[in-house]
Symmetry: C2
Subunit: 133 residues, 2 copies
């Protein structure tokens, strides 16, 4: 029970815990999820608005991403029976708490991005540059 470390990684960090974190990370670690929930963080958007807001995403991928978010309970999907159909997407409470929990990681990402890019570049130029084709 004794608090294991002062810098406080997550408690225990045994394999079991790691796998649980991994499960969640896999939900949002794909190519588009973060971009989508980022757009929904403080407003409701329709399908088309999201499509325009997230540059480069295809209809297919936007649909898949939203379906998964809905399935996991992070986003609600509301269909309005109007003549041109209208579907609204909103973050749930759960989705908002996730975004909250991403704050620290986001700061880290923004703060250390350049450092990582630099390190990577150095690594690449120093290596024997085996043709990894």
């Amino acid at each position: 029970m004794a608090a294991p470390s002062s810098t406080s990684l997550w408690p225990e960090a045994d394999e079991e815990q790691c796998r649980q974190v991994l499960q969640i990370l896999s939900l949002i670690g794909d190519k588009w999820t973060i971009l989508v929930i980022g757009q929904l963080r403080d407003r409701t958007l329709r399908f088309g608005e999201l499509h325009r807001a997230v540059t480069g995403i295809s209809q297919r991928m936007l649909t898949r991403t939203l379906r998964q978010l809905e399935r996991d309970g992070l986003v609600t999907r509301t269909v309005h029976a109007s003549v041109p159909p209208r579907v609204d997407y909103t973050l749930t409470e759960l989705g908002m708490t996730l975004l909250d929990s991403l704050t620290a990681l986001s700061r880290w990402a923004i703060g250390h991005r350049q450092e990582i890019i630099d390190h990577r570049h150095r690594y690449d130029t120093v290596q024997p540059s085996q043709a990894r084709s």
Copy 2:
């Protein structure tokens, strides 16, 4: 400049910021990275030890994962020129700060995992169950 929200998601959260977060998330959102750095969080391990510690990982994937972590500057690789070769892997300072920044997300993951699983199950049973093969 005014602080945008009291619950504090990450500041701004425009597409640019989101993409930077995504870049980092992609580094650790894959199948094995979290498990590997989780094992390294408070100790140095050799290749074989890691291989045994992370259940189910193949040699190939462990090597790839470690190479990427090394390339990004999150892990150091130390080769000891001994008769049976020995290679040690350790988290760098940068790697440790990443683990720190993962704390909130880890707590969220552990705390809401069951909730997500339940929601998912409900979604699956209610849906028309279109054969998605």
